[in-house]
């Protein structure tokens, strides 16, 4: 069958995940113990995605070609890494990545990595290229290794209100949409009386992130799919799982999950905030224009679940969803969450990381059944067949975002995100941008 050889729509692999983690920490560098093409493979993905901070300086290829590979690549890796650190004056953190091909012959890196760590004078994190990991899992693994660099043995000061770290924000660029998301997450913590601590990741240097010991609790977003017990063992602090605050109901739920998870009991709901009141009215107004429209959602499972919930509030129907991940829970997570949120969604309308033939088949069936396809497409900048996109307005959300760039605070998450998303949906529906 052709689908065995098709490339799934969400095909980013581990190398990119580590690179994005390095990109999210300004004083980190990323050394590639790989073939020459791998540098471009990862770097090119964000060259046009992040117009604020250039990624070219981040990644250094250890220049291992055929000759070096045969002669023994480890010495080359060591020399180049140390030379890079020397030229830059300092490095806060070094990520070293392998690729499946580089790891295949089974070179023993342990001694080399120890020497690099000693001579470079900064932490070194080696993350294998991996055969199966996608970029979300690799990003989370990089995050876990950075969390290990915090001195969790130091006890946080007792304060009147607790300080919470947020773990698992997918910070992939320095444009104002991601920066604004960070502020929205802080703001949601504050709204229920908790002080925001460190945010993994948010564009902070390693030193800043290492202040995470000051928090008493780690709040975990769905982009950190690794086991909570492991995180608790690393940090010695309780971990509280929360959903993505995407949409007004989700923001409210985030606050509740925070309160329940931290205090252990459900506090009586806080007085309706100005934001809640205003977004309720906003949703009602937007519904008048958007109800009855049809949207295709292409996103990773937590974003897809949040987006479908928001769209259902707006009475926009979502006849097809393309889930771009497996590592964050994929289709299973998506359906479970929607069930939990009380949104009816047929399992067959969600495709988990399909190839193009599967997507086209589903779209074709849908068109036969309903006589039309989509008015709106909510997706990252991912090539889609013209038969699917024709006549639809496209809201670029997620990674990669090559066409939409944000230089003014425009969040997707939190209350601010609700205003912006609803406004973008309305503009798209009217084709006024």
């Amino acid at each position: 069958m052709i689908d065995e050889f098709e490339i799934p729509l969400g095909n980013q692999r581990g190398l990119l995940g580590v690179f994005l983690a390095a990109h999210a920490i300004p004083d980190a560098i990323h050394i590639l113990f790989t073939g020459v093409g791998c540098k471009s493979k990862a770097q090119r993905q964000i060259a046009h995605h992040d117009l604020v901070r250039d990624a070219g300086n981040k990644m250094v290829w250890a220049d291992i070609g055929e000759r070096e590979f045969i002669a023994g690549p480890l010495e080359r890796l060591e020399n180049l890494t140390l030379e890079t650190v020397r030229r830059r004056g300092k490095a806060g953190l070094i990520f070293i990545s392998g690729s499946a091909a580089a790891e295949f012959p089974g070179a023993d890196l342990a001694a080399t990595l120890r020497r690099i760590k000693r001579l470079a004078g900064c932490p070194v994190i080696y993350l294998p290229g991996g055969w199966e990991d996608d970029h979300f899992l690799a990003y989370a693994r990089a995050m876990r290794e950075v969390l290990r660099l915090v001195n969790w043995k130091t006890s946080p000061k007792k304060r009147k209100s607790k300080t919470v770290n947020i773990v698992g924000y997918f910070f992939d660029r320095y444009e104002e949409d991601r920066q604004a998301d960070c502020w929205e997450l802080y703001s949601l913590c504050l709204s229920v009386g908790y002080n925001p601590g460190s945010l993994f990741f948010c564009g902070d240097e390693l030193k800043e992130l290492q202040r995470a010991w000051q928090a008493e609790v780690n709040v975990v977003l769905p982009f950190y799919p690794l086991p909570l017990y492991e995180l608790e063992a690393i940090t010695g602090r309780p971990a509280v799982k929360v959903d993505l605050p995407l949409g007004p109901v989700a923001c409210r739920r985030f606050e509740e999950q925070l309160q329940m998870g931290i205090s252990g009991e459900k506090k009586p709901p806080l007085k309706m905030s100005y934001h809640q009141l205003e977004t309720t009215e906003l949703i009602a107004g937007a519904r008048r224009r958007l109800a009855g429209l049809r949207a295709l959602v292409v996103a990773e499972s937590p974003v897809a679940a949040g987006m479908v919930e928001l769209l259902s509030e707006l009475e926009v129907s979502v006849p097809l969803v393309v889930i771009l991940d497996r590592s964050l829970g994929g289709k299973k997570y998506f359906l479970e969450k929607l069930k939990e949120y009380g949104v009816d969604f047929p399992a067959e309308a969600a495709l988990e990381n399909p190839g193009y033939s599967c997507l086209e088949k589903a779209a074709c069936q849908l068109e036969k059944k309903d006589g039309r396809l989509f008015d709106l497409i909510i997706a990252p900048d991912l090539w889609l067949p013209e038969e699917i996109t024709i006549g639809a307005a496209w809201l670029e959300v997620g990674f990669p975002s090559h066409r939409r760039h944000v230089f003014h605070k425009e969040p997707v998450l939190g209350w601010g995100g609700v205003y912006l998303l609803v406004q973008r949906l309305l503009s798209a529906a009217e084709r006024i941008f």
Binding site: I2, F5, I7, L16, G35, V36, E66, R87, S357, W383
Partner: protein, 424 residues
């Protein structure tokens, strides 16, 4: 394509072959075979399919965003550790070829072997050799961790495209192909039409079916015989008349370009007769910039997009443009600073007739320091170096500012006036 390409193998070893080519060196950032071919084929129209015989990660070399032509044409054998350790990937590749042929019915299938396949000793050429399919198969295998120069890759691709094509026995000298020239918004077509000459533009990013146009012409003008050495050799061997004329960048080059093209096509009239208005406008556009006497760092070595504009003429084409303005230009090369590299650079500059003193930068971060040390406040470089230039207080003239043709001179001068309009 008219089924003119058959099983061909090339790959990492070609780097060594390139080093023996007349140019001597390829100073562009090297890439891997899959990277380069995916870069080119993502933007090429045509009825073809591409199969990567590699791990799935390599498929991220394919452009699958809104810029790409149609990523549905790309497939991957998705080699896993188990495949390689237990049974090898040959069977998977054969199956992929059959499935892809049935699914897309392409006229041509490119099979690209990756590092992993090479490390495991899989010969894609041999695997595909006994396949009987409707589609023609082109196999390209990058030896494990092979580095391929960007120019070399574009040349290899063009050479593949011309294989088995033949020039017509009889053809008008008033019809010619411009091969490997940066796009000039059809100015050359317009100007040469006045002289009764019909022009087709061809290059690595042309739709595959356009290569068949070569069979209608006898004369081929080539932008750079050093970069396209294999293609030039192939064309000559097959019987085309090939002339090398550098792209029309800058006023002097524009005049030379049209003069040589008219000579090549046996046109007795003078080029000036057909381009008087354009030339005069371009000349006027240059005047305000000629008095500026700027010092400019011309940065090479951070180009990795397989763009003709960056590779043809060794990336030195715009150098003359700035020199025509009377600016003082210093060459900066990014890359190793060792003596061996310096000798390579000298060889490269000599090959392009531009031998002069130059500065080597070990990496992109050194740019700011060297600009400060040399007191240079303007740099012609890739957009991605803006941060480093800013750190030195220098202004950036981004690559791509200088456009070809007479209208390019006008447009480029206007852009430069805006950019260097205020002194630093």
């Amino acid at each position: 394509m008219s089924g003119n390409v058959e099983k061909t193998a090339c790959g990492g070893h070609k780097t060594a072959a390139f080093l023996n080519s007349p140019a001597g060196v390829d100073l562009s950032q090297p890439g891997c075979l899959i990277e380069g071919m995916c870069r080119v084929l993502s933007f090429v129209e045509g009825n073809f399919a591409v199969i990567l015989h590699s791990e799935l990660d390599c498929a991220n070399m394919i452009f699958r965003d809104g810029r790409a032509v149609d990523p549905r044409r790309f497939f991957c054998t998705n080699l896993s550790e188990r495949d390689l350790l237990e049974k090898g990937g040959a069977e998977k590749l054969r199956r992929a070829l059959v499935e892809v042929t049935e699914y897309l019915n392409p006229r041509l299938i490119f099979v690209l072997g990756g590092c992993l396949a090479s490390l495991a000793g899989e010969e894609v050429g041999a695997i595909c050799s006994d396949m009987k399919l409707k589609a023609k198969i082109v196999t390209l295998s990058g030896a494990a961790f092979g580095k391929v120069g960007q120019g070399e890759l574009l040349d290899t691709f063009c050479r593949l495209m011309i294989e088995k094509l033949r020039p017509p026995k009889k053809a008008s000298t008033k019809r010619l192909v411009l091969l490997g020239y940066p796009r000039d918004d059809a100015e050359s077509q317009k100007i040469l039409k006045r002289a009764g000459i019909e022009v087709f533009a061809l290059g690595p990013y042309s739709p595959l079916y356009r290569w068949e146009d070569l069979e209608k012409v006898k004369l081929v003008a080539l932008s750079d015989g050093l970069i396209f050495s294999r293609t030039a050799q192939g064309l000559r061997q097959a019987g085309w008349q090939v002339v090398e004329i550098p792209p029309p960048i800058g006023l002097r080059r524009c005049e030379e370009f049209y003069r040589k093209l008219l000579e090549f096509s046996d046109t007795e009239q003078k080029a000036a007769e057909f381009s008087r208005a354009e030339k005069s406008e371009a000349h006027q556009a240059q005047e305000p910039l000629k008095g500026r006497r700027l010092r400019l760092a011309y940065h090479l070595g951070s180009r990795k997009d397989y763009q003709l504009e960056d590779l043809v003429g060794g990336g030195l084409l715009e150098l003359e443009f700035f020199e025509e303005l009377g600016w003082e230009v210093e060459l900066f090369f990014q890359g190793a600073v060792e003596e061996e590299r310096r000798r390579e650079i000298e060889k490269f500059l000599r090959a392009y007739g531009k031998l002069r003193p130059f500065t080597c930068l070990p990496d992109r971060l050194s740019l700011a320091r060297v600009l400060r040390e040399k007191g240079i406040f303007w740099v012609y470089c890739n957009e991605s170096l803006r941060e480093q230039a800013r750190a030195a207080g220098a202004g950036v003239i981004p690559q791509g500012t200088i456009r070809p043709g007479f209208s390019g001179v006008v447009e480029s001068c206007r852009r430069l006036e805006i950019l260097v309009g205020h002194d630093r």
